[in-house]
Symmetry: C2
Subunit: 157 residues, 2 copies
């Protein structure tokens, strides 16, 4: 669960240059190939590294508009709402939260006009009382993990 400095360097290296492979990584890190292989196996069975899936850009797919919707849910309708939202492809993630709303979801759409369609589909469901949407204009910090990995590695070794 805790990662050491070598783990951190390995993850950062793979995050920066994903295509290098185990052998090249071992060369860069100055350790034996078996070590890198063992570390990677451990990190993956730990769950620290979930996998190496392709990082797809919704904008390049034709969905350049991102928005976050805060949803208010009727009591006892949570499970139904989850199932409903899970069936909407434009819902990229869904969280239940504390605070003013009950759920927060990330949406994408083909255009601002298309966003209306997506929102209609999202909120067009009985269990949802109210929705408030914030459209993303800029993304100064894209989803990242490297700084956190570096900090986690510092904290340990």
């Amino acid at each position: 669960m805790a990662i050491d400095h070598l783990d951190g360097r390995l993850i950062v290296l793979l995050a920066r240059e994903p295509r290098i492979g185990v052998l090249e990584a071992s060369r860069r890190l100055g350790v034996a190939r078996g070590t890198v292989q063992a570390r990677l196996d451990r990190l993956q069975s730990n769950g620290v590294i979930r996998g190496f899936g392709p990082d797809v850009d919704p904008a390049a797919l034709g969905y350049p508009v991102t928005a976050f919707a805060t949803l208010e849910i009727k009591q006892g309708q949570g499970a139904d709402v989850r199932a409903h939202l899970g069936g909407v492809p434009e819902v990229l993630e869904l969280h239940t939260t504390t605070g003013h709303g009950d759920m927060l979801c990330r949406l994408v759409a083909r255009s601002n006009a298309d966003l209306q369609r997506v929102i209609d589909r999202v909120v067009g469901f009985d269990g949802i009382v109210r929705a408030s949407t914030a459209i993303v204009m800029e993304n100064p910090v894209p989803l990242r993990i490297i700084p956190l990995v570096e900090q986690a590695a510092e904290d340990t070794g």
Copy 2:
């Protein structure tokens, strides 16, 4: 920019089983290896596939608490706030948005108590007027792309 059915199947296949490699992918898809290679090259130079970085789980790193903070910014302080938040490792992403707040950021922390420290660090900056935080309890739909890819592939071919 638009992807066809084969592109879609390729992305979905790689998303489900990232470690299979080009050759195995070509076998699964029933096409020649060169075709898969060419498609992958195109998808990557298109920007549809940004890369194949490791998918790191913050929870497994010791940061099991996720929260979303809506920030209200003093006029003209946007750039400074961005730089400030970019320097906080626990800020995993940052967006500027329309709506009630001016920015929305995703935070992680080691515990609910630690979240207080993170929030203090986030809002302990002159340009930030007010912050409202929603702590994530459940994550019924983890960040996903497959359904969107399937839809985008349907729409085209």
